[in-house]
């Protein structure tokens, strides 16, 4: 008894630094030091934008990777948070705008998004597998058309403009550097939460449900409740991304939650890979870089064709995205020294 205890004590003699692993530490240092070398454009348009869309794709990756539910409604959830910020806080569109301070409006917006996400989840978990993608796409499209037609709540086609990011502690959080660190902070927080949550009791249960819902039901787990709660958690991450997005753009309109954006989020998650939470951020960086610089390669008009084709190639060649590609190349590289002849 004492022997096994001692052995158990001896094994996790790692410091938290070791547990983190060298990859994470290098990445963290690079991300923190990034503003020293990057221009304002690269800080916000590339850095901040990738982090925001990475978070959106992360919420999708959590549902798809651990829960087996591929959602196309993540941007809709983020859009609900963004609209909530515009409606509860200040905007200069002369519609609604209750003037709540940011520290009240932002948590409410995230909560609203999470509840909406749970509702979408509750509707879609009644069916399974490929049906989820159809139902969430229908919900995303319907919400988009609703936002476009409705003037009383969504202010129709033009949406809301003049939304300001908060200023406190003497910092205007819309400044490039401050905004980058704000995004980085929330992205790291969600990333760590997913990484930790995947090994928690709930995370393991969710993965077991993904693999065999019938067996889990037979074991006495409430499958529906677990799935809906996963949607709620994903809604929190997507809602945070939505709040950051509306602070970044200063405006929100039906175009923000359009079907093309919903599909972009899925593309980001698939290109990055759905096996590990780093995938969505990787995919977001690739897609944002492509969207920014494809204009120079194929002209401003046809960059959707390029993105679509890259997406098609990825789906055909490597179902697990860039991460899957890396997973296949890594063993090949490791054997390189053995392979080279005399």
């Amino acid at each position: 008894m004492s022997l096994t205890l001692a052995a158990q004590d001896a094994a996790p003699q790692q410091t938290w630094l070791e547990k983190l692993g060298p990859g994470h530490i290098i990445l963290a240092v690079a991300l923190v030091l990034y503003p020293l070398v990057a221009s304002d454009f690269f800080l916000t348009q590339i850095g901040g934008y990738s982090l925001i869309f990475g978070m959106l794709a992360l919420s999708l990756m959590m549902l798809a990777g651990y829960g087996g539910m591929v959602s196309l409604a993540q941007i809709t959830v983020a859009g609900i948070a963004a609209y909530a910020i515009a409606i509860l806080g200040n905007n200069n569109s002369n519609v609604l705008g209750f003037g709540w301070p940011w520290w009240l409006a932002a948590p409410f917006a995230v909560l609203a998004a999470a509840v909406a996400s749970a509702l979408i989840g509750w509707i879609s978990v009644r069916t399974e597998g490929i049906y989820t993608i159809m139902i969430t796409l229908a919900i995303a499209t319907a919400t988009y058309y609703f936002a476009q037609q409705n003037y009383a709540i969504f202010n129709g086609h033009s949406g809301y403009a003049g939304i300001h990011a908060p200023s406190f502690w003497g910092v205007n959080w819309r400044d490039p550097k401050a905004f980058y660190y704000l995004c980085l902070g929330f992205a790291v927080l969600s990333y760590a939460a997913i990484l930790y949550g995947a090994r928690s009791t709930f995370g393991l249960t969710l993965q077991a449900i993904r693999d065999n819902p019938r067996r889990m039901r037979a074991l006495g787990y409430d499958v529906t409740a677990h799935k809906v709660f996963a949607w709620f958690l994903a809604g929190i991450i997507a809602g945070l991304a939505g709040v950051l997005l509306v602070w970044f753009n200063g405006r929100v309109s039906p175009g923000t939650i359009g079907v093309d954006v919903a599909i972009d989020v899925l593309i980001i998650a698939v290109i990055g890979g759905l096996q590990h939470p780093i995938g969505p951020f990787l995919g977001a960086l690739v897609v944002v870089l492509m969207q920014t610089f494809a204009i120079d390669i194929v002209g401003a008009e046809r960059f959707n064709t390029l993105i679509g084709l890259v997406f098609l190639v990825i789906v055909f060649v490597s179902p697990d995205g860039i991460l899957g590609l890396w997973g296949r190349i890594k063993p090949y590289l490791a054997q390189e020294s053995l392979r080279s002849g005399p």
Partner: protein, 355 residues
């Protein structure tokens, strides 16, 4: 004899007493539908009293909304039947179905515009898109068979590229396919909308073309039903929906059946594109609209069922048009509520089967 007669009469007694008010459940439903039909007939043909006009805006608005809804349902059915057929047989959620609709509309426009024959445009919309469907099935979806998530992702990729390329070729303008003269104009229906003060009745007029679209949808729906239920290919398709592996094992070339179904489904989308582009208009963004319509119709009606697609299309078409008249900016919510209620009551859709 009297003893022999007794058992049936007693059983009749007991059965009728079990049903309560002397009516079986089936009879009750029959009575309900009869009353509903009578109410609809009265609403359509009678001259409305003032209080009803006050509630429902006007009889003209109401009957027009119903007719618009039914004709729109015809169009939705044409698009969604192909979608549901492909899904039912191949478990393939073809999210590029809206793009097929739009491509068919553009091709129909070009052909009808250049040759001057509208019917030629309709035919080419069907034939070209059927060919496109076969190509998609053979070169794309067959390679990913059995992996429905990847098939769906690929169809999303195709729809992005297709939308962008169509934008490159036809630009962002709105096109209207010209309807031939013999289909143009309005028809006076034997429905009195109001009575003038001098006693003359005002009859409802309705565009002839829309009624033709509805008739075409019904003919095609019946044709599909006959094909599925009375022909050999239809038998194979139905067998494939139920058990694909078994169909393959019994010596049928499953890939040929898949190609036929994909050709019919994509061709119907193209056909609907030309027909819908003549009634409404052709513009970028229509692909998403019709994809949403087919998704909701199929979710409500049940995947893989033609009759389900008809019921779903009728519900969604009516909801959309009635919503447009009575609560303009909340119309889409009505569609949405129908979908949620259908899913809550029957997760597989109204006519869907559990698998």
């Amino acid at each position: 004899m009297s003893i022999l007669d007794q058992p049936p009469s007693s059983s009749q007694l007991s059965s009728s007493s079990m049903a309560g008010g002397g009516m079986t459940r089936r009879q009750a439903w029959g009575l309900f539908w009869l009353l509903a039909a009578a109410l609809v007939a009265w609403l359509v043909f009678a001259v409305w009293p003032d209080w009803l006009n006050a509630i429902l805006i006007s009889k003209k608005a109401f009957v027009s909304a119903i007719l618009n809804g039914i004709t729109l349902a015809g169009l939705y059915f044409l698009v969604a039947s192909g979608f549901t057929l492909i899904f039912g047989l191949m478990r393939n959620v073809n999210l590029a179905h809206g793009s097929l609709y739009l491509l068919g509309a553009y091709i129909g426009y070009e052909v009808a515009n250049r040759t001057g024959y509208w019917l030629l445009g309709v035919a080419s919309g069907f034939i070209v898109l059927a060919a496109v469907g076969v190509v998609m099935q053979i070169f794309v979806f067959r390679r990913l068979e059995g992996d429905d998530l990847r098939q769906t992702l690929v169809s999303i990729g195709i729809s992005i590229v297709a939308a962008d390329l169509m934008l490159a070729v036809w630009a962002g303008g709105t096109y209207q396919i010209a309807v031939p003269e013999w289909l143009d104009g309005a028809l006076t229906l034997p429905v009195i909308t109001a009575v003038r003060s001098n006693g003359a009745s005002v009859f409802l007029t309705y565009p002839l073309y829309r009624l033709v679209v509805l008739a075409a949808a019904i003919v095609i729906g019946v044709g599909l039903w006959l094909m599925l239920n009375k022909t050999r290919v239809g038998m194979m398709i139905r067998a494939g929906v139920d058990d694909r592996a078994m169909l393959s094992a019994s010596g049928v070339n499953v890939h040929a059946v898949f190609a036929i179904v994909f050709a019919v489904g994509a061709g119907l989308a193209g056909f609907a594109g030309v027909v819908g582009g003549s009634a409404l208009s052709v513009a970028p963004g229509e692909d998403v609209r019709y994809l949403l319509a087919s998704l909701v119709v199929v979710i409500v009606g049940g995947m893989g069922s033609i009759s389900g697609a008809a019921i779903g299309a009728l519900l969604i078409g009516l909801a959309e048009q009635i919503g447009l008249v009575y609560f303009p900016t909340y119309g889409i919510v009505l569609t949405f509520v129908i979908m949620v209620v259908a899913l809550a009551v029957r997760p597989r859709g109204i006519m869907g089967k559990a698998r």
